[in-house]
């Protein structure tokens, strides 16, 4: 059982299972809802593709979908690290 991390803390190429997505009050419409409508839900396995220097956006993959989110949003997505092959 690995520890909880945020998507921002994962390294590129690492996978994580979504534990929770904290609502992002920064937007009128919750980031949570937006991600949900794209099928990015708790329990899904996501792979971090890249992050940019100086707290730039994070790109991650969920199934066939690649999504870029801002760094602050990436810190709201709580994941449990998953070793490749395991659980997927």
């Amino acid at each position: 059982m690995s520890t909880l991390k945020t998507l921002a803390d994962l390294k590129s190429g690492q996978q994580g299972k979504i534990i929770s997505i904290k609502d992002h009050h920064h937007r009128h419409h919750g980031i949570n809802q937006k991600l949900q409508s794209m099928g990015i839900l708790e329990g899904k396995i996501i792979t971090k593709v890249s992050s940019q220097w100086m707290r730039g956006p994070v790109v991650f993959r969920c199934g066939k979908t690649d999504i870029a989110v801002g760094h602050r949003m990436a810190r709201k997505i709580l994941v449990e690290e998953v070793k490749p092959g395991e659980n997927s």
Partner: protein, 571 residues
Amino acid sequence: MKILLIGNPNVGKSVIFNRLTGAHVIASNYPGTTVEFTQGKMKYDHTTTTVIDVPGIYSLEPASTSDEIAVKMIEEHEDAVLVNVVEATNLERNLNLTLQLIQLNKPMILILNFWDETHHLGIDIDHKKLEEILGIPCIPTCAVTGEGIKTFVDMIPQARIPSLEFEDQHRWDLIGSIVKQTQNLQHRHHTILERIGDISVKPVTGIPLAVIVLLATFKIIQLVGEGLINYVMDPIFEMGWKPLMMRLSGIMGSQGIFHDLIIGRLVEGEIDFGQSFGVLTTGLYVPLAAVLPYIVAFYLVLSFLEDSGYLPRLAVMVDTILHRLGLHGLAIVPMLLGLGCNVPGALATRILESRRERFIAMTLMAIAVPCMALQAMIVGLVGEFGIKSLATVYGTLFLVWIVLGVILNRILKGESYEIFVEIPPYRIPYFQGLVKKIAIRITWFVKEAVPFVLLGVVIANLLYTFKIIEVMGNLAKPLITNVLGLPQQAIGALLMGFLRKDIAVGMLIPLGLTEKQLVVASLVLAMYFPCVATFSVLFKELGIKDLIKAAVIMIISSVSVGALVNYLYPW
């Protein structure tokens, strides 16, 4: 009959729309400030069907303002057949919207687009099985090549109310089970396009790639633009049009007010397309021979970039910089469009969420993003002095863009949002689609620009004839001459620049300015005000209060930058 095309963003709805309304006859073009097809007519088998292209949505529970508009469109057209366009390569995510649409209990039909890609990606979908489960026709298509579109059109009368029933809280479970029953994935290696996809968003490889792409973009625009001018448009005007116009000039007696309006003033007994300033000479030459080649080149490259899927990746790479300007990465898209023409650029700022972001983006664009018409003329005017003066103009504009953005971000109230964007897979642009898109944009430019340029030439002539320029020049002398170091006649160019930037630059040619004066004049013309077409879009998008605010910023920054360069430019 009426059909609504509904689906996630970027699943090919608009391509299908073009196929339906264009392939079988009359495409209706509803005029706006830009060519935007949202509604059109399809004629087939003696029936006319109204086709409506609804903006892309992920869900019927709106998560943004544009989602709300789409949901409202679906509600408004109660009697319409719902055509759910689905990306076959991403069935699971797309089915979320499909199931929500199913619950509306309306006649429905499903299109599995990108069917050809599923084969390359090792995805095997049993569309008959899907049809059985959902209880509506499911038709595989490849919209860009037109495959399956005819089958779809034939099936429209067979759209039916879905038979599938379920409780909403089990939606995602149901999606999982549908995908399991209908889709079979084969293991396969990553394709080359997917590898490039990852490379282009990792900083170590993505930043150099972004730099290369942008440099290549400018180089290609320059090469294609210059090539078209030197080998196509100049020969046509010099060898074909000029003899005709010289004959006409002779018939009209080589001088007089009417002659000067139509043909312009002769320079050493000859027509000079840059300087004569007649409606049929300079008025046609500037938009068609000097500017159009660059417009063609620009939209060629931009349309390719758009269709390839690179722009969202570029947005990720430049996000950190744009963040300092109170924008996020996606704002690079309207900025790039603005380099072609500020009008579609300003409209494209609608992809930004907050009013603050849109104000910053439009103000920066109007001041520091020169449109192709302006650039073509600046290159023609300043370029002969070499790369140094061109670099000064472009470098200064870029610096202004950054510095002004940082300042606006500091002083403006309100909030700017972070980037949130789906990154589509790379696709190799489909040639015919690309050609069509470029053709639409060029037609739009010609229709928009040529009348304004002709009008501008007429007005410029009137201003000279009635000595208005002289009067204005005397009034503006303290500012123009003392602060900016320009001759007072330059006021004519500044006045006309409000109508069209390209004619304004043309009016500077006969003044015989020095290198420094040309650099200053180019900068001031670029920055002080956008052209009237852009201005009216800014008015519509921002409202009068913010437009005045933006205009004050424009005047202050153009005068101060012009003065600064005038005092600092070393020769």
